[in-house]
């Protein structure tokens, strides 16, 4: 993949998470095409394996985008995701990739602006990280 734009994978929950993505689109925002959104039913569907898979496949950064605590559509405790998130961050640290490559964002639903802020801020941060994730041939 090209060096210029980091590959960002966003695991967005179908509810508030995706609503932010859609709201950003509705509000006319633009973001780089290297930002890829993967829709899941709920952020609690995501586990370490999938996050690591994203990195394995060449993601430079991953955002977990979900509902604000207490607003989960399924009433799932946000702690479940936090657990996966923290474990994966520890693994990223051990791998020397840096825990900063994985962030979790709980946005109020329909917050297109918040989403854009999160994405652009994260891209800048990932761009500055050294070394970038080496890509397997």
């Amino acid at each position: 993949m090209s060096k210029q734009a980091p590959n960002i994978v966003i695991f967005a929950c179908n509810w508030d998470g995706l609503s932010c993505v859609e709201a950003a689109s509705q509000a006319g925002y633009c973001y780089p095409a290297s930002v890829k959104v993967v829709r899941v039913s709920c952020l609690s569907r995501i586990h370490q394996g999938l996050i690591l898979k994203a990195f394995e496949l060449g993601a430079d950064g991953v955002i977990l985008l979900g509902c604000e605590p207490g607003n989960c559509h399924f009433d799932i405790d946000a702690g479940l995701v936090t657990h996966e998130y923290e474990n994966t961050r520890s693994i990223l640290n051990l791998l020397g990739l840096g825990e900063e490559r994985l962030v979790i964002a709980h946005l109020a639903h329909g917050d297109g602006y918040g989403f854009m802020k999160q994405v652009t801020g994260f891209i800048t941060e990932v761009e500055q990280m050294q070394p970038a994730i080496p890509v397997k041939a």
Partner: protein, 1179 residues
């Protein structure tokens, strides 16, 4: 015709009420004056709820709008309701929206093309948006269709005798669309180059910008358009050329004749113009000097008119060379006499016959046409009109001496166009005001001078000007060798030789009906200067157009008058103050420097605005009428959704009963009974429920109330059929089309045939994404049998096309790249109306094939829209997104979703007010109801407020009347069984009773023990216990506002309803909430059968290690013991909501979601991260 019920209102509550009814199987017409649901006031566009609330209840609005039993009538204002219960007729006005709600995909292309920016107050902020826009700009609504904000017409347009859409063409020009601007002008009238030069511009005189500083320089812009359009003149026909055979004769090729011929030709006729001169154009050729209107301009436009199929015979004087009789003999069916006014008025003073005294018409004709004509050294022009000015300026160009104008009034009264007067002075012509000739002096043969007298202005005359009166003794003499009399003309009807024609003796004008222009002879029409006396070009052209209309009607034997009026359209009321106004001053028209206008030069004086000045000038327009009707939106809409011709219409809607949320007054009588009192529900007469809008109540309460009212109304509603016979069948999601595992295997082994469809979305996606490249790349993937582009996937035609192509190409799997992002039968916050419609149409179209798996990917909002700045990246990503869909559709697991019935009534656990209210509502509907409740704690009653006690006693009494008793809480209570056919086992000592129930309502809201909290502990090994002990699951309590609203907005239920604990709540509130729960329970019961969600999980017992991690987070998962003693997780898929948390927790992968497997997510990642390439196929 009356079937179903009507709900009137635009509020969220109205939507909730309509949805409740629909879910109970009742057909609902939802009438709203607004442009979309949930917006209270479309004019000020303030919403009744905050936009945050609005987006939170979005799924509710969408579910209402897209429910197959709900028909939404937007922009509809109810006028009257007549009839009686069971047979009401609602008469309503449907106001124009100008956009077809069923075609518009809200893709936004029209918005981009719209040249008008309007500022509105949205959410308290001033925001600029286009005149065509979504009901709430940049926000989602249901219906999502756009609408056009139109005022009346702009003053400039209203003032134009030709009705040219001035604001429209100025708008188009402001966007640089010169050709489109010319097209728009030419919709109304021809001769743009002529009008842009010589029009007397009533538009500018009425321009609102004049109130700010000075009017927009419209004429200059008109000319700019005519001079700079690159596409040539392309007059659009209204009917095929030559489609009308009737012959029409037009006498005179002046502006009136040309306009009439042009319009008739556009209507399919082939009219003939007879012109006595060799030059075509009448006054345009002979009267207006070439330096004002160059011949080339006239020539070009006359040629364009001829090209439409107009024959022009020059040098033929009708009446002299050919008689009317001859023409009738030759088949001419109608005549338009537009001979102009070419005969000069006389001064009627001595000396008018002297040599050297000429009239303006002859002078102009001579100088314009005959280049060599001589002019004296001392020319005096008498008059103050345009012909005087033109004569003076023309003479100046030919005279080596002086040119002078005598005018009997002052500059203010001159009828000539001001700018031209200025130019005349610039060119060295002097004007003597307040001077009138008394006698023309001569040497017996030739003119030598003029005796004049000074005038002063006296009283105001009938024409509004002050009468000039001679000042006694002021006479004086001026020298002159050439006197031009330019004091007006009259028609010369004598050449017509038409004695039968009615002529006004005083003026010499032909008498014609002012509206129809018909003369005293049927079939003979007349207009222009020969009817009005000398006038201007634009009025003459207007008469020509009017005549064409009359002639067309005459020939078609239609009423000449019907629907016509001379009244000018009423311009929009417009407050200049509201506008953001550009600071630019009116442009100045560049002109030839005076030295260039020297002797003999007939070069055009004005040069036309340069591009930058024209651009600035367009920006001065205030867009008084909002929508300018430039029709660009209509042009860019590939789907034909925009139509400016939309008209208000009267509609009639039948309904058996009506719930009205709109009218707040006029309540005549209250309905007796409990609910009515507490819901502020009133009946004007049986069958009409009028609901008063609550003030500042929280949304949850309002929704509960709306549900309660709808349920109440539904109870009274007499269904034509039993609800069981017309169940609302949930649409089978595309991805959920069941296949047996054998079939599945066959298709895998036998090779796949995957079809990919790309939706252009009316051009909004295809204008960013290079579809050709996408198609080329995707086609290389093995297994893809066809990639096709479609215009609109969400239309019925789109869905049918996909179905037919699927059959033709024998596709077994389809990837639809449009705006939909999932194949689920769910409506989430991100879903849109078009996505729902797309799903519905496609499931419907594909039903007969039934073994096709569909995967949806979003290349609109999630690609084209957000990457529109980088089309190449967007194209690349679109390929990746589609490949992700292809990879996923390959891996859809076979689903084993079976339906099972919903049977029986309701079991209500806990007899709080909510429980009792729910019980009552369900019982009234005829469902069997069982209530189980613990004893009230001793002393509990006394602590309660009396209102609570009264309410409860009343409810208990009503239930008792229904024969419903409350069973005591058993020693052990067990709830089991699949959803819809629950089994409750109640153990009372040695006795056990069993209750079968389709739905279970649990009222945990009572504090004093109707629902014994300790009893839940004993029941942990069954569903009830697990549901009631949420603390032991990793789940949140769900007390947030979103959680409370969720039950109204989302249809997520396994038939078990828990009404949550709340603090101090007034009794009536609890009644609503109980009834609202009952409404949801009824909707569940009336489905008839349920099947699991497509996203529900299944558990592979072979892979399950029995660790219990899943059951620890999900109350629906039960750990069962196997023979070996190892536990195994079990779930009834019908209960599963599909969050997938258990899937993520399972260490072995034993739990799978059919359409969201790890494998599918991984494939998505692979594709999105470019690991699946087209050339190499899928790894």
């Amino acid at each position: 015709m009356a079937r179903g019920m009507a709900v009137i209102g635009s509020s969220v509550e109205a939507a909730q009420a309509a949805l409740t009814l629909a879910e109970l199987g009742i057909e609902v017409k939802l009438l709203t004056p607004s442009t979309a649901l949930g917006l209270e006031n479309p004019i000020s566009r303030t919403t009744d709820t905050s936009s945050e609330d609005l987006s939170r209840i979005w799924p509710l609005l969408l579910r209402t709008a897209s429910h197959p039993l709900v028909t939404v009538h937007t922009n509809t204002e109810v006028r009257t309701i007549t009839g009686k219960q069971g047979k009401f007729t609602i008469r309503a006005n449907r106001n124009p929206r100008y956009v077809h709600t069923d075609l518009c995909t809200s893709c936004g292309r029209c918005e981009e093309a719209c040249s008008v920016k309007v500022t509105s107050l949205l959410d308290g902020q001033k925001k600029a948006h286009s005149a065509i826009h979504a009901p709430i700009p940049s926000s989602r609504t249901a219906p999502s269709a756009y609408y056009i904000e139109k005022g009346a017409i702009a003053p400039c347009r209203a003032a134009c005798p030709l009705g040219i859409n001035v604001q429209g063409f100025v708008c188009l020009l402001s966007k640089g669309k010169v050709d489109e601007a010319l097209g728009l002008i030419n919709e109304a009238a021809p001769l743009a180059g002529v009008l842009g030069r010589v029009c007397t511009h009533p538009c500018e005189d009425n321009c609102k910008r004049g109130e700010v500083d000075s009017p927009v320089f419209i004429r200059a812009l008109h000319r700019y358009v005519a001079d700079h359009a690159t596409g040539g003149i392309d007059y659009r026909l209204k009917a095929p050329a030559g489609s009308r055979r009737e012959r029409i004769a037009i006498v005179g090729s002046g502006p009136a004749g040309l306009a009439a011929a042009w319009e008739l030709a556009r209507r399919g006729y082939r009219p003939t113009i007879f012109e006595s001169h060799a030059q075509v154009g009448g006054m345009l050729a002979t009267g207006i000097p070439r330096f004002r209107l160059p011949w080339e301009v006239r020539y070009r436009e006359v040629e364009a008119i001829k090209a439409l199929g107009v024959d022009i015979m020059t040098g033929v004087t009708v009446g002299r060379d050919v008689s009317f009789y001859d023409l009738m003999e030759r088949g001419y069916r109608a005549f338009f006499l537009a001979i102009g006014a070419h005969q000069n008025n006389k001064l009627n003073i001595p000396g008018e016959d002297l040599e050297g005294v000429v009239d303006a018409v002859s002078l102009l004709f001579a100088l314009n046409i005959h280049v060599g004509a001589a002019v004296g050294l001392n020319v005096v022009v008498i008059g103050g009109g345009n012909s005087a000015i033109d004569s003076a300026r023309t003479a100046k160009r030919r005279s080596k001496g002086e040119v002078k104008i005598l005018y009997r009034r002052t500059a203010d009264e001159m009828t000539a166009v001001k700018e031209e007067v200025e130019e005349t002075i610039n060119e060295g012509v002097s004007i003597e005001y307040l001077t009138s000739p008394v006698e023309i002096l001569g040497d017996g043969r030739k003119v030598t001078g003029i005796r004049c007298q000074r005038m002063e202005l006296g009283e105001i005359e009938a024409d509004g000007r002050r009468r000039p009166e001679p000042i006694p003794g002021s006479e004086f003499t001026i020298e002159a060798d050439h006197v031009v009399i330019a004091i007006g003309q009259r028609p010369n009807v004598s050449t017509l030789n038409a004695k039968w024609l009615d002529i006004d003796d005083a003026t010499g004008n032909i008498r014609a009906d002012p509206l129809t222009l018909e003369t005293n002879v049927p079939g003979v029409f007349s207009g222009g200067d020969c009817v009005t006396g000398p006038n201007n070009v634009v009025e003459a052209m207007a008469a020509g157009l009017r005549a064409a209309e009359s002639i067309d009607r005459y020939i078609r034997r239609r009423d000449l008058r019907k629907g016509r009026s001379l009244e000018k359209p009423k311009p929009v009321d417009f407050e200049v103050g509201e506008k953001d106004i550009s600071h630019h001053k009116r442009a100045r028209m560049p002109a030839l420097p005076p030295y260039k206008r020297r002797l003999g030069s007939f070069e055009e004086v004005t040069l036309g605005l340069p591009a930058d000045a024209a651009d600035r000038e367009t920006g001065r327009c205030l867009n008084c009428a909002l929508c300018s009707e430039c029709l660009e939106c209509e042009r860019v809409c590939e789907l034909g959704a925009v139509f400016h011709k939309d008209n208000a219409e009267q509609i009639e809607i039948g309904a058996e009963a009506i719930i009205d949320f709109e009218s707040n007054g006029g309540v005549s009588e209250s309905k007796p009974g409990y609910l009515a009192r507490d819901t502020q529900l009133h009946l004007t007469k049986p069958g009409i429920y009028i609901v008063q809008t609550g003030e500042n109540h929280d949304l949850e309460r309002e929704l509960a109330r709306a549900s309660a009212i709808a349920l109440e109304a539904a109870t009274k509603f007499e269904r034509k059929e039993e609800p069981q016979e017309t169940p609302y069948i949930a649409h089978t999601p595309g991805a959920d089309l069941a296949r047996t595992s054998e079939e599945k295997e066959l298709s895998v082994v036998g090779g796949e045939r995957i079809g990919v469809f790309l939706c252009r979305c009316g051009g909004s996606t295809s204008s960013v994404i290079d579809f050709n490249q996408v198609i080329n790349e995707v086609l290389q993937v093995p297994g893809i049998c066809n990639v096709q582009e479609i215009s609109q996937a969400c239309s019925e035609e789109g869905a049918n096309w996909i179905a037919s192509q699927a059959a033709e190409w024998k596709m077994d799997k389809i990837v639809l790249a449009a705006c939909r992002c999932c194949g689920l039968d769910q409506i989430c916050f991100s879903c849109t109306e078009r996505r729902v419609i797309c799903q519905e149409n496609l499931s419907y179209s594909l039903t007969p094939l039934n073994n096709i798996t569909v995967e949806f990917v979003n290349i609109g909002e999630q690609c084209a829209k957000v990457h529109r700045d980088h089309p190449e990246d967007a194209t690349r990503k679109a390929v990746d997104i589609i490949l992700a869909g292809v990879a996923r559709v390959r891996k859809v697991l076979p689903s084993i979703h079976e339906e099972h019935p919903v049977e029986g009534g309701a079991l209500i656990l806990g007899a709080g007010l909510r429980g009792l209210s729910a019980a009552r509502s369900l019982a009234i509907q005829g469902y069997s109801v069982d209530i189980v409740s613990g004893p009230e704690k001793s002393g509990g009653r006394e602590q309660k407020k009396s209102a609570y006690r009264d309410t409860k006693d009343s409810l208990l009494k009503q239930l008792e009347e229904q024969g419903i008793k409350i069973r005591p809480w058993p020693h052990a209570l067990k709830l089991d069984g699949p959803p819809g056919i629950y089994n409750a086992e109640l153990k009372y000592g040695s006795r056990t009773s069993r209750i079968k129930a389709g739905t279970v309502i649990i009222d945990v809201g009572e504090r004093e023990g109707e629902f014994p909290p300790d009893s839940t502990a004993t029941a942990k090994d069954n569903l009830l216990g697990r549901l009631l002990a949420p603390e032991s699951y990793r789940r949140t309590t769900g007390d947030t506002d979103t959680a409370k609203l969720r039950k109204y907005t989302l249809k997520e239920t396994g038939g078990i309803f828990i009404t949550s604990r709340d603090g101090e709540e007034p009794p009536e509130e609890q009644i609503f909430k109980g009834a609202a729960v009952a409404a949801r329970a009824s909707a569940y019961l009336c489905q008839g059968s349920v099947s699991p969600r497509a996203i529900a999980v299944t558990i592979d017992s072979k892979l399950c290690r029995g660790c219990g991690d899943c059951a620890a987070i999900c109350p629906y998962i039960e750990m069962k013991e196997r023979d070996s003693g190892i536990a195994c997780a079990f779930i009834d898929p019908a209960l599963c909501l599909g969050c997938g948390a258990c899937v993520a927790r399972c260490p072995t992968g034993a739990i799978a979601q059919f359409i969201q497997s790890d494998e599918q997510i991984t494939s998505t990642l692979e594709a999105l991260l470019g690991k699946i390439t087209c050339a190499a196929g899928v790894r």
